[in-house]
Each structure stands twice: as C-alpha cells, then as structure tokens.
C-alpha cells in the first residue's frame, strides 16, 4: 500500500476512451496507473499496486495471460476482470478476485475497488491479531495472574486484542461470498514474507 489513502489502482484496457473514463471516475481518491496492453501492464506492476482493473479481451497478451503472469510472479495484488459480457465461467476458478461488466458505472467501479481493498485489510487485520496473540502469550509465560494485571503493557495488549476481535467478527460475514472468501485466502497466500510481524 502506498501513501495514498485510497490505494493504487492500475487500469488496463486497449480502449483509451475506457481508460480515460475510469481515470475520471477514480481520480482524487486513488493513485492511478494506466496501461493499454498486457505487456505494459506487467511493466507498470510493482508491489505498490493494490488493485488491477484488467480488460479480458485485448490484442496481443490477453487479460487471462496477464493474470497468469501476475499470479506466477506472486504479486500481492487483487485483480478485477473487466468483460463486455457476464463471464460464463467460474471466476473463482480462474484466479480473478472479482469482475465488472462493461459499461461500468462510477459507483460500481469504486465499490468493487473498495471491496477488494477491504478484504486485503481483513487479511492484514488477521495477521495483526496473530502478532498480538503471540505477544500476549509471550508476556503470560512465567508470570502470575497478579503480575499480569499489574502490567500496563499487558492491559493495553488485551484491549487492542478485544477491539481487533470485534473488527474481525464484523468483517467475517462477507466470507460466505465465495469470491471474497477465496480472494482473502489469496491475499494471505501472497502476503510478503517481510510483512511478518
């Protein structure tokens, strides 16, 4: 994630008019990058990109091929496929995290991006929860209940844990959606090793 609060979005479409429209829909909220074919999409991609809006049908390297290379290279990025028609196949199977059907409204586009960023956030929150639990377990070792109650660091940890638990439970309802569930696992799979707390 970059300094921009909204995250960084890479728009990939061979139709420059489409790219211009999406740019207009998204500017001001997200950092935006653009590519007009599959090769340059891969050039534009780095660890700062959070979401890719990927046109499925492009001359040269197709959206599907770009996706395969993104997954092969292990980028921690969520990918929404953009198609002209409703996909007649299982997007969960294909490795996409979500899809959009053209023409896309401003609201749809932004909601899809925000949902993808939210499930990234869920993966980050679970990781944070794990780190805090490890810290709490370490503090408990060899300490009496009284010592722990007197320890302000432990009390602080306990309150952060219960806040985080409430956040995680509130986010968990979305997991019954298959594509959200799988995309969250993908975010866990692809999270960088250096992100370990």
């Amino acid at each position: 994630m970059t300094a921009s609060e909204g995250g960084t979005v890479l728009i990939v479409d061979d139709d420059r008019e489409v790219v211009r429209t999406y740019h207009r829909y998204l500017e001001g909220t997200y950092d935006i990058r653009e590519a007009y074919d599959g090769e340059s999409a891969l050039d534009e991609l780095d660890d700062d990109v959070d979401v890719v809006l990927l046109d499925r049908l492009m001359p040269g390297v197709s959206g599907g091929e770009v996706l395969d290379r993104i997954r092969d290279r292990g980028y921690d990025v969520r990918v929404a496929m953009v198609t002209a028609v409703d996909p007649d196949f299982d997007i969960v199977d294909m490795g996409f995290d979500d899809y959009l059907t053209k023409p896309t409204t401003r609201e749809e586009l932004r909601r899809t991006i925000d949902d993808l960023l939210a499930l990234d956030q869920h993966a980050v929150d679970v990781r944070e929860y794990h780190a805090l639990l490890v810290k709490a377990a370490a503090l408990r070792e060899g300490k009496s209940r009284y010592e722990l109650e007197e320890n302000p660091a432990y009390a602080d940890l306990e309150s952060r844990l219960s806040d985080l638990e409430a956040t995680l439970e509130s986010e968990a309802g979305d997991l019954t959606d298959d594509s959200r569930f799988v995309a969250t696992l993908r975010a866990i799979d692809t999270a960088g090793e250096d992100a370990d707390g």
């Binding site: 969960v92 199977d93 869920h122 993966a123 679970v126 990781r127 929860y129 794990h130 780190a131 639990l133 490890v134 377990a137 370490a138 408990r140 070792e141 995680l168 439970e169 968990a172 309802g173 997991l175 019954t176 298959d178 569930f181 799988v182 969250t184 696992l185 993908r186 866990i188 799979d189 999270a191 370990d196 707390g197």
Partner: protein, 221 residues
C-alpha cells in the same frame, strides 16, 4: 438458544465423548488436541458422524491422510461415500483419479487452492444449511506454511464455516509444536477437546465451554 425450535439447528454428539454434553451449537469451531496415536483422528470422525445421530452432510479437508484412507475410515463407520452428502478436499498432493466426491489440491502450501476446493465441495452439495466440516491436521499444515499464514488460513476458514452455521472440527498434535503456537492457535476455537495418556490409560477433557467442567475423564477405546 433459549427458543425451543432453535435446538434443531444444533449438532447432536450422541455418545461421541464421555462428557455431559448433548450437542454443539451452529457455527461452532472445536479443536481436538492429542499426542500421536491417541485416537484424535477417530474422535474427529466421531464428531463428524456420531453413531446414532441423524447424518449431516460432511466435508473433510486433509493435509496428511490421502482421500482413499479417509473414505475407508468413513465407510467402516457406515457413512455413504456419496458426493451428495460426503466430500473430501485432498490437499496431500497424492495422485489419484478425479472423482466428484474428491477435490484435489496440489499441496497444503496452496491455501488459495484449498479455499477454492472447499467452495466447490460445498457448492457441489447444493450449499446445505447444515454441514459438519473436519480438518486433519493443523500439525501437517504447519510443515508447509509458516505459523502466521497457518493461523490466518485457519482463522478465515473457521469464520467462513461459522458464518454459514456449520460445525468445524480440527485436529492438532500439541507435542510437535511450541506451547506458544498451540496457545495462540487454540484462541481461534470456541472449545478444545484435549486427549492425554496416563499410565497407559486414555483421558479426555473439554475446555472453553460454560457449563462443562474441564475435568479429566476416562476415554477408553
């Protein structure tokens, strides 16, 4: 759970464990913990298909025993190996024929693949209202992914089944991990059933449930 008709949503245990406990609530996640050869796998299977209880749809996700052994174990218990009501997600990487009841994943390191296979298994069974989900085992998973990823995966998977009202039962061998990891991973679960052996006798206790005292009880086999 005070409403009378809500009990229908619960998961009866029949006599699977020698403890005064009739059932688990919908969405519960239970950890079965015990050393090697202590009968914990048997207990996980007992909780998925308790003798004498009305059968529920079952999905077993395995990282160690291949699907064929899971299948044999359930057939021995009289469970029909029918993809309408019983499926296995085999993440052992063991070769085998494709089968509508067996969803294969190349390795326990492929957490996304295991998630995809889970959704396909549940979708293939018509997304039932009730389902008992088993996971064997957390210890094997830990040989393929780091503790943080394993924790995150188990957290997300267990919340997924909870949100659907399913019962989740997971096994772990605590003797192969640091105490700290076992403590941390246990916090994912609503209850833990611990098995131990003392002087050749097997004992069991249930922790984490209000109304059930965590006392060691003989658990003969």
């Amino acid at each position: 759970m005070a409403e009378g008709d809500a009990r229908a949503d619960r998961y009866p245990l029949a006599d699977a464990i020698p403890v005064d406990l009739d059932d688990f609530g919908p969405g519960m996640n239970v950890l079965v913990s015990g050393p090697p050869m202590s009968g914990k796998r048997q207990l996980v299977f007992d909780l998925l298909s308790p003798e004498g209880a009305a059968p529920d749809p079952i999905v077993v996700m395995t990282t160690d025993d291949p699907a064929s052994r899971i299948q044999t174990a359930f057939e021995d218990r009289g469970v029909r190996f029918d993809p309408e009501v019983f499926r296995v997600v085999d993440a052992t990487g063991a070769p085998g024929d494709s089968d509508s009841a067996i969803h294969r994943v190349s390795s326990p390191a492929d957490l996304t693949g295991m998630g995809v296979a889970f959704t396909q298994a549940v979708d293939g069974m018509g997304t039932p209202d009730r389902l008992r989900f088993g996971f064997v085992s957390i210890s094997t998973l830990l040989q393929y992914v780091d503790a943080e990823r394993a924790f995150s995966f188990l957290h997300v998977l267990s919340r997924r089944t909870s949100a659907a009202g399913y019962l989740g039962v997971y096994s772990i061998d605590p003797t192969t991990h640091e105490d700290r990891f076992v403590n941390v991973v246990t916090s994912i679960f609503d209850a833990a059933i611990e098995i131990r052996e003392r002087d050749g006798d097997r004992e069991l206790r249930v922790r984490g449930l209000s109304g059930v005292k965590p006392e060691w009880t003989a658990f003969p086999h």
